[in-house]
Symmetry: C2
Subunit: 412 residues, 2 copies
Amino acid sequence: MVKIDPGRLMADLKRLRGFGATGPGVVRLALSPVDLASREWLVERMTAAGLDARIDGVGTVFGRSRNSGPALLIGSHTDTQPTGGWLDGALGVMYGIEIARALAENDATRHLAVDVASWIDEEGTFSSLLGSRSFIGDPVDESIRGATNRQGERLEDVLKAAGLAGRPRAHFEAGRQVAYLEPHIEQGGRLEAVGKSIGVVTTIVGLRDVRVRFTGQRNHAGTTPMAIRRDAGAALVAFITRMDDAFRQIADADTVWTVGRIDLDPGAMSVVPGAADMYLQFRDANVARLGAMEQKLVEMVRDFNAQHAVSVELQALDEPIDPVGMDAALAEHIARAAEAVAPGQWLRMPSGAAHDAQLIARCMPACMMFVPSIGGVSHDFVEDTAEEHIVLGCQVAATAAASILLKASADE
Amino acid sequence: MVKIDPGRLMADLKRLRGFGATGPGVVRLALSPVDLASREWLVERMTAAGLDARIDGVGTVFGRSRNSGPALLIGSHTDTQPTGGWLDGALGVMYGIEIARALAENDATRHLAVDVASWIDEEGTFSSLLGSRSFIGDPVDESIRGATNRQGERLEDVLKAAGLAGRPRAHFEAGRQVAYLEPHIEQGGRLEAVGKSIGVVTTIVGLRDVRVRFTGQRNHAGTTPMAIRRDAGAALVAFITRMDDAFRQIADADTVWTVGRIDLDPGAMSVVPGAADMYLQFRDANVARLGAMEQKLVEMVRDFNAQHAVSVELQALDEPIDPVGMDAALAEHIARAAEAVAPGQWLRMPSGAAHDAQLIARCMPACMMFVPSIGGVSHDFVEDTAEEHIVLGCQVAATAAASILLKASADE
C-alpha cells in the first residue's frame, strides 16, 4: 500500500499556515500579498514534488505531473475567509502534493499521474470559485472585469499588478484528467457527533437564497392601537413561524433552512415597523425537494397576501444552485480505501457547503471526502482538526488515489 | 362665549411653520439657529398678545400674563423631530397665544390670567422634556452638562453661544398657576377612525423599554443539521410568538406592544445566527397591567431558559415611565366645552405618546386634549390636521380655559 509521510505533510501544512497566520487562524484573502507569496511557495513545493508547476492567468496554482495520463486531479483552495481557519481548503491542496510525493516513492505507483490544483478565490474575495470556473471553460473575463474586493480594489488591476494578467490559464485537458478528488474538512459536526473519522461525500447540496419583503405601515408605537396596525415586523415573525411548520413537513434529516438576517425599518423602539426584510437560505441534496420548498414559499406568499393587511413579496437573490451528485464509482474507491485504512470509521454523507468540486464535476467524474472539524467549527480562527484525523485522511486519500489511477490505467 | 379668531390663529401657525419649513413638514431641532429665530418671534407674538414674555435659561419661551392669578398655564413645544410635522407641539403653543388674545378681547374674561409656554426640547434633540423638567424643579444641570446632539454639539456650549446660559429659568409659581392645559395633535388614528373631532385625555400611558438577548451558537448554514443547531434568531421568533399570545391574554383594547428592532449576529445569509437581540416597548394606562406584562416576560425568560438550548436574558433599557392620570375636574371642563362647541363629536381617550403634561402634572392639576391627525400620521413631513379641526380645537380649548379660570376665580 502507498504510504504517506505524516511528518512531511504536517510540516508543509504548518508552513502554509505561516502565510497569514493570525492567532490560531489564518487571514489569506485571495490575491493579497500574503496569498501571492504563499502561491510562489506552493509552486516550489509542487516542483520539489516533481510536478511542472506554475501560477496561471487567474491565480490558480496548477502542478502538472510529468507522467503521461490518465491523470487524477487532486485539489481544493488555499485562499481563506476574512477570519479563516488554517485547514479549510489548504488541507486538500497539501494532501494533493503529499499524495504526488507518496506515489512517486512507491515502485507500484511511480508511473501514475497526479495533477494538483489550488483554485483561486474559492471564498469569493473577488469572485467566488473563480479558479474552478476558469478551469472548466466558463467565460470568466466578464467576472474579472466587474469584480472588486471589499476595499474596492478591482480584480483586473490586482491580476495586472501581480504580473498574472497575461499568463496562460489552466484548462481541463480532455483525455488526460480522468477524475477529480477534493479532500476537505467537514465544516460541520456530523462526523464528530457519531465518532467517525472519514466522510465519503455523496452529493454537494443545492441552495436557494431568497429575500422575503414585508410592506406595512410605519406608525407611532404609542398612539397606534394593535387592532389597526399594519406591523411589518409582526407579519415577518408570523410568516417565519408558518414557514418553519411547512418546511418541517417537506424536510428530511439533511434539509436545512436559515433566516440569517432580519431588517426592520426604521428599526426604532418607538416606531411600528413599516417594512421588514428576511433573508432566507435553504439547502438540500434533492433538487425536487428544493423545488417543493420554493413552491411552498410561493403558496405561502400568495395566501399571506390574501389574508393579511401587510403585503409580502418574494425575491430570489442569486441564481439557484442545484445539487451535484458525486461520482458513485469514485466514491466507492474512497469508501474501500477508508475501510482498509480505518475499518468502520467512515460514513457516506452529503456536503452542506459549496466546493470547487461541484464545478469540476461538469467536465469529469468528481468526488470529495471529509475529515472531522472539531466542534463543527469553520470560517473561524479556532477551526481545527485533530492531527490524527489529518494524517488518517491523507492516507485514505492516497490509497483511494492509487486505486483510482490503477483502475484507470487497467481500463486503458 | 369667548370667540377665537380663526384667521389670526391660522396665520400665526403658518408663520411659525416658516421657521424650518421643509416641503410640507418642518425641521426645527431644539436650539438650532432656526429654532432660536422662531423663539424670538414667539416672544414678539406673546408680547403683542399682552404677555410678559422671554426666553429662559434653558430655551423655554415663557409668556406670563400681566393679570394677577389664579392663572391657567397653556403650553406645549415648538421644537420638532428630525423629520417633523408642522403641528406637533406648535399647535398647543399657538392655541395658548390665541386664547390669551381671545380672553383679553372679551369683557367677561379680560381679567383672567393665561400664561403660555413653549417648553424646550420635548423631542430630545439634546435631552427629552428638558423645559418641563426644569419648570417643575427637577435638577437639570447634570443633564445639561452631559447632553449632546447627534452632531456631537454640547448642550452647554449651545446655550452659551445663544446667550441663554446665564438667564433666569422659568419655574412653577405656587399660588399663581392653578392648572395646566396642553392641547396637541393626536398622533394616532383613533379620532379619525370613529369620526370624532376632539379627544379628552384621561391618562398619559406609561411605558417600558426592554431588550431581550438570545445567545446560541454561530454555525455554517449548510453543514449544521437543524437538529443540532442553537439558532438565536429562530429562538427569537419563537419567543415573540409566545409573547404575543401571552400579552393578548393580559391586554385590553388600549394596551400596545412593539418589537421595533431585531438584530441577528452576524446577519449573513450563510450563517446560523449565534446571537440575536429584540427591542421591545410596551405601553399601558394601567400601572398594574404594565407590571403584569413585566412579570410575564420574566416568567417567559425563565421558562425559555429551562426548555431551550438558546439562552435568553432580559434587560430594562430605561427607567420605567409610569402612567400619569389627567385631572378629572379639568377633563370635565374640556368635555363640557367640547359638547358645547361640537355636540357629540368628542370622546375620552388615553394618550399613547409622552408629553410635557406628564411632568407638569407633578406640581399642578394637568389635562390634555387632542385634535385628529390625518391618517394617524406623526413625526413625518406629511403630518397634518384638517383646518376645520384646528379651528374647532382652539375654540374648545378657549371655552374650557375660560371655564377653568372662572371656576378658579369663583373658588378663591
